[in-house]
Amino acid sequence: MTHDHEPHGEGAQRAERIERRWATLSVGIVALLIVMAAFAGIHQATMPQPVLETADPRTLHIAGEFTEANLGSSLEPDGSVMVRAIGQQYSFTPACIVVPVGTPIAFRATSADVVHGFLIDGTNVNVMLVPGYVSTIATRFETTGERHMPCHEFCGTGHEGMWGRIRVVDKATFQEMATRHRRLSCVDQ
């Protein structure tokens, strides 16, 4: 930098050179990070939801897709599974979600009261449930078994008790359940 101070010695010029080299390297590191983030964004399944959808917590139970009879997992015509769930102080409905292994799963969830979190242990399923809005996320489970599904945002004094579960069953079991009920949860097994 061109300051008007003591005459520039050789040392000052050398210092500036090193400094500029480091600044260039820093810019390079940052650029690389951005490219990596963009690459991951384009090439990976987990992407933020594209559009904003609303749902009124006051009428969730009366009308629309989040009425009680419509909550749970359903087999869609294309073979994928749609799971609708709500969070409320201090539980999820359904409290235990059942899904088939190796199948594309889409979650649609919202909150009936305050902000809740929705996390499935050991997976990339991790969203906020904000009352007034619908959260969507897509995933696929590669192994069967039961996983925890805790609420991870403070939602009131019962927050520590808000643990749901998700049970991943084999495809045949799920198919069989789906012939008996339109909407499934663990209790239908």
Partner: protein
């Protein structure tokens, strides 16, 4: 030329008193949620405590340190008395009244909403009013910083603003603009509901406004630390600042890019679209730049100190550093924690990696390492450095100071490494109780116990810290001489206008914020049906 010693001491003491109380609450929380303690019969106490701990640590401590240190820098760097000292006391008074106003409803359990106060949970209005008062007090400080610099510039036309003051004023502007987001949320969304004037609130919009504050507040927390890196450390360890311009550039970069990136806190939220999330993710990467520049400049400055002391070789100079000097220890520990914390931050930065750890205990571990570790350890170092100038008494117990810094460093490592790990194992945050008998949680039990031990070491360290400062008030009187900031290898007398003023940078800061936040906010404001009923905390359902 220090004439406002009582004012500055008052700020530091309020900050450290809040810190001491909150530190005990923090360790209590860690104990309660560990396997060492059975079910807490009333979990409400836990959330009350987290609200108190978070509010004191995130708002009261850093704000009061920045204000007190800011007044100190004004007098010590501009070498003249503070203009507007009476107003500064008014600001301090607001901070005291605000703290008390907020603490009472929290202590009574009427405002256990946590320091992030996410609506539609709403608590007692006095909690929010208290927080607003602290912030308004700090706005007085911002105005005073600006006035003092303006007057100095008028009296010293064309002169280079001392780096410490340049950074300090940049920090105050950053804070003024950052705090606007939460202020809008509190004044226009939450308080009308808390006071019973309205019954509904847009919870998604509130989270957007809060994110406006939540990210850059982190840079406000670290301003005093970075000012110490550049303008105290090189002098204290007997070296020179490698580059004055690089310092200015870093603070300017913080001003410009710290603000328009807060939506990275909403990566997992439904009310902001994917495009803006990506945009904020890109800007978040940029904010690594000033830190990378700082790491280089400070390491080079430290190397200069070592070479002046006769250090040789490519790495051999490290041995020549004054390792028994408290400031040397503090900067080394701070950099180690900044390194680990920064690596963790890169993970939080990307949407895809964030999905694994969002709102798990990884996050709490991460910010305790960066904030409680790298940043707060320099608050201690600042206090040690300025104390003799404020009290007129020697601070000679170097052994005790070294023990304090070592225990804080070790304690933070022992506290936060297991904390990160249980987060990766999937432990959700902010819970009063975990059932460790569950086979899925059992592997986390011993790690949480380690964190309890780390917290105990930190409590010990906190006690040492207060003991050193109190002893400093009783030590023999000395004349500490005039306060000196670091001198650069090539100390500029004049610098380019762009590195000596803020106009351009402030307009970029505001402009970028409006671009990056304008659309998401307008979109939510114009989307019908987003208001939801407020829910009073503590009320029975």
């Amino acid at each position: 030329m220090l004439t406002s010693k009582r004012l500055i001491l008052a700020h530091f003491w309020l900050a450290f008193a809040a810190f001491a109380g909150a530190l005990l609450l923090g360790e209590w929380q860690m104990f309660i949620r560990s396997p060492l303690h059975a079910w807490i019969s009333n979990p409400e106490w836990y959330y009350r405590s987290v609200t108190g701990h978070g509010t004191a640590m995130a708002y009261v401590l850093p704000t009061l340190v920045a204000m007190g240190f800011g007044y100190f820098i004004t007098e010590a760097a501009l070498k003249r008395p503070l203009i507007g000292r009476a107003w500064a006391w008014v600001g301090f008074g607001l901070a005291v009244v605000g703290t008390i106003t907020a603490v009472i409803p929290v202590a009574l359990g009427a405002a256990s909403v946590l320091y992030t106060f996410y609506p539609p949970l709403v608590g007692n209005p006095f909690y929010y009013i208290g927080v607003v008062l602290v912030v308004v007090g700090s706005w007085i400080w911002v105005a005073l910083m600006s006035v003092n610099l303006y007057r100095w510039k008028k009296d010293n036309p064309g002169a280079a603003v001392p780096l410490a003051m340049f950074a300090n004023v940049a920090g105050s502007y950053l804070w003024a603009w950052t705090s606007v987001g939460a202020a809008i949320e509190l004044l226009f969304q939450i308080l009308p509901v808390a006071l019973g004037l309205r019954t509904t609130i847009d919870a998604g919009l509130a989270r957007v406004f809060f994110s406006w504050t939540l990210h850059a507040i982190v840079y406000f927390w670290l301003m005093p630390t970075y000012i110490a890196y550049y303008t105290i450390v090189p002098r204290a360890i007997g070296g020179r600042l490698y580059s004055d311009s690089m310092g200015r550039l870093s603070f300017i970069l913080f001003l410009v890019v710290a603000m328009p990136i807060g939506v990275h806190h909403l990566f997992m939220d439904p009310q902001v679209g994917g495009g803006f999330k990506f945009l904020h993710s890109v800007f978040t990467a940029l904010v690594a730049l000033p830190t990378l520049l700082t790491v280089f400049t400070i390491c080079a400055s430290v190397e200069i100190a070592a070479r002046l002391r006769g250090g040789r070789g490519a790495l051999g100079w490290i041995r020549a550093l004054p390792w028994r000097n408290p400031m040397m220890l503090a900067i080394a520990f701070s950099f180690v924690m900044l390194g680990f914390g920064g690596a963790g931050g890169l993970i939080n930065m990307s949407y895809q990696l964030d999905a694994v750890i969002h709102n798990t205990q990884w996050i709490t571990g991460h910010f305790h390492l960066i904030f409680g570790g790298a940043i707060v350890i320099m608050y201690f170092a600042i206090a040690y450095d300025v104390w003799p100038h404020l009290t007129g008494r020697a601070l000679e117990c170097h052994g005790l100071i070294r023990a304090q810094l070592w225990t804080w460093f070790i304690g933070m490592m022992v506290l936060t490494f297991p904390w990160h790990w249980v987060g990766i194992l999937g432990m959700p945050r902010r819970m009063a109780y975990y059932d460790y008998t569950d086979p899925a949680l059992a592997p986390q039990a011993n790690w949480v116990i380690m964190s309890v031990i780390g917290g105990a070491i930190l409590v010990l360290s906190g006690i040492l810290f207060l003991a050193v400062l109190i002893r400093g008030h009783r030590a023999p009187q000395i004349d500490p001489g005039p306060y000196r900031f670091s001198v650069a290898v090539h100390q500029p007398r004049r610098v380019p206008v762009a590195l000596n003023s803020y106009g351009l940078w402030l307009s970029l800061m505001v402009g970028l914020t409006l671009v990056n936040y304008g659309f998401p906010i307008l979109h939510l404001l114009t989307t019908p049906g987003t208001d939801v009923p407020a829910i009073t905390v503590g009320a029975q359902k």
